[in-house]
């Protein structure tokens, strides 16, 4: 994403953001409330159209995307409960919008159940039958179903928007395991979280947004979670990265101007 600007009336949510994800990389997108994290990924998934800038996916340039186009380009959005139909069974949720059908559009239910089961098996999510309505599943299990959807459709980029909100510790741990599983399978992911301790174990690189701008970018190997917390606090208070970390910051001031 290059030089993305997004305005909501007089409020500028994003002020020329450059953001990229490499192949087989997990990017932790962090920042305070109102930093523009969700707006940025909504643009990447086609829910919002940017006012300026361009989106480049697999070498193709787009002024804006739609969710359908994003889906077709291999981008899947995982959001706490928002992308599931909870009255419906697991297998239907996995294939939602991309059902396997015959030429007349009639569902090949047995095929879908089989593939759903196989996909869930990869995440060790076979405790519940694939016919189980999603409303019976715990929050972590529901996130697993969404990640399974990404696996079935061989998504190249999975966006996880606050996937661990309202989850227990054990369930958060499972969701992090699912993200690691995605990485093992060669997928890329953007992990948005307020909680540094949730995003730290899975991310390869961290991008810090503040007031609609990218202000810092670090490789994980250069920081501890405590360092990252210190940087976040400093940015929230002063708007800048502490002096001792400036050398590690991949995002240079020249890029901000």
């Amino acid at each position: 994403m290059r030089n993305i600007v997004k305005r909501f009336g007089s409020v500028v949510a994003l002020r020329g953001v450059d953001f990229y994800v490499r192949e087989n990389e997990v990017v932790g997108l962090v920042g305070d409330n109102g930093a523009g994290k969700s707006t940025l990924v909504k643009i990447l998934f086609g829910i919002h159209a940017p006012d300026e800038g361009e989106i480049i996916i697999k070498g193709m340039k787009f002024k804006k995307l739609t969710p359908k186009l994003a889906y077709e380009l291999g981008i899947v959005l995982i959001h706490q409960e928002r992308t599931l139909c909870t009255n419906h069974p697991i297998w239907r949720n996995i294939f939602m919008g991309r059902e396997i059908t015959n030429k007349l559009g009639f569902l090949r239910i047995d095929d879908m159940k089989k593939i759903a089961y196989e996909s869930l098996s990869q995440l060790e999510l076979t405790r519940m039958p694939v016919e189980t309505p999603v409303k019976y599943l715990s929050g972590g299990y529901q996130q697993g179903v969404q990640i399974s959807r990404a696996l079935v459709f061989e998504a190249d980029l999975v966006i996880l928007d606050e996937p661990t909100v309202a989850l227990s510790l054990a369930e958060t741990q499972r969701v992090l395991e699912y993200v690691n599983e995605l990485k093992k399978k060669g997928k890329s992911a953007v992990f948005i979280s307020h909680n540094i301790y949730h995003v730290y174990p899975v991310a390869d690189r961290f991008v810090i947004l503040d007031k609609g701008r990218v202000v810092a970018e670090f490789y994980k190997e250069n920081l501890t979670p405590e360092d990252l917390t210190e940087i976040m606090i400093s940015i929230a208070r002063t708007g800048s990265v502490p002096e001792k970390y400036k050398e590690l910051n991949l995002y240079r001031k020249s890029q901000l101007t």
């Binding site: 359908k68 992308t83 009255n87 939602m96 919008g97 009639f106 239910i109 519940m128 189980t132 299990y141």
Partner: protein
């Protein structure tokens, strides 16, 4: 690891048919009550052929209305479309001097167009479906009243035509309109449960944002659902007209509440996302059965509304209890899966 299948039983998890069982039980309870009140009437086959003759007028529009309500929307204007469709048919027949298939097709197309208009008002102009279809209820009824000046159009002279036989004749002692009803119920069941389009209808009613996020064209599905409902409402109006061999300008008025009630008694919540064609079918039969039962029991017809009201409340109360239990079960199940996750993680 905890075997969740054993904890609550797979059958317990996927007991999708509870509502249908309850609705069917209510139907048989009503049948039994009327049978006790008047055994001779309810052992007489004529009672059942009469039921099969008149119930399609309520059930057919209710079947397609089920789709609309599953999407979380509503359509009240079908009662007026039930008059608009046959009016076009009757006027075509009058102009041609014969009961032509063309008249039927034009009548159906009028219904389709009226439904399409509803869909566009709701999706493209963003008018809430309740308000939009109240408006079109008046609009189409107004068109019918202006066109007929309030007069009926007798169609008895066409009784011997093929169209009459094909739509409201008899086949093996069964009214053809009831066979149409069963056929439509099967087709709509297939669409809802076995076709991609039906899946989209459920998803839109369950979680519209999710449906959009996975790339489903929500507007297109909604417009199609309204168009289909318009078409089916016109069909119901046409068979009602042929059944009476007369077109009358207030045709359809009485079916608005009856068809909506059939859907709701049948277990389709107005909040959308859930619902079955089977439930609607039985719901419609219940309402018509009550009407017949009250009349054959020797009491005045004034009791019909009262009994309808009682049955609707009983059916909704039963559904409310079932849904509340379902919510509790879902909470328990979520807790069990959370605990299972904790065990497997530790």
């Amino acid at each position: 690891m905890t075997a969740i299948h054993e904890l609550k039983g797979v059958r317990g998890i996927i007991s999708d048919y509870k509502l249908q069982v309850v609705i069917t039980a209510i139907f048989f309870a009503i049948w039994f009550a009327f049978y006790v009140l008047n055994p001779s009437a309810f052992t007489n086959p004529f009672t059942y052929t009469s039921l099969m003759s008149i119930s399609p007028y309520t059930i057919i529009p209710a079947i397609s209305l089920t789709l609309v309500i599953i999407t979380g929307e509503i359509d009240l204007s079908f009662s007026s479309i039930m008059a608009l469709g046959p009016l076009i048919m009757a006027m075509t027949w009058q102009a041609q001097g014969e009961a032509s298939l063309l008249g039927v097709i034009l009548g159906l197309l009028a219904g389709l167009g009226a439904g399409l208009f509803n869909g566009i008002l709701i999706t493209k102009l963003g008018i809430p479906s309740l308000i939009a279809t109240i408006g079109t209820t008046f609009l189409w009824r107004g068109v019918v009243l202006v066109a007929t000046q309030g007069f009926s159009i007798p169609l008895g002279q066409y009784r011997d035509s093929m169209v009459f036989s094909a739509l409201v004749g008899w086949l093996g002692g069964i009214p053809v309109q009831f066979l149409w009803t069963i056929g439509l119920a099967i087709i709509f069941w297939l669409i809802l449960n076995r076709h991609r389009f039906g899946a989209y209808i459920y998803y839109i009613g369950d979680n519209r944002v999710a449906a959009q996020m996975v790339g489903i064209n929500v507007d297109r599905v909604l417009i199609s659902v309204y168009a289909i409902h318009g078409l089916i409402a016109a069909f119901a109006g046409i068979i009602n007209t042929l059944g009476m061999a007369t077109f009358w300008p207030t045709l359809g008025d009485i079916y608005m509440l009856k068809s909506v009630s059939s859907v709701v008694i049948g277990g389709t919540p107005v909040t959308g996302g859930l619902g079955t064609i089977y439930g609607t079918f039985i719901g419609g039969l219940i309402l018509e059965f009550i009407e017949m039962g009250v009349l054959t029991s020797g009491v005045t017809g004034f009791w019909i509304r009262l009994v309808h009201g009682v049955v609707i409340i009983v059916a909704l109360a039963a559904q409310g209890i079932l849904r509340r239990r379902e919510i509790i079960r879902a909470r328990v199940m979520r807790l069990i899966t959370t605990q299972a996750t904790q065990q497997s993680t530790s």
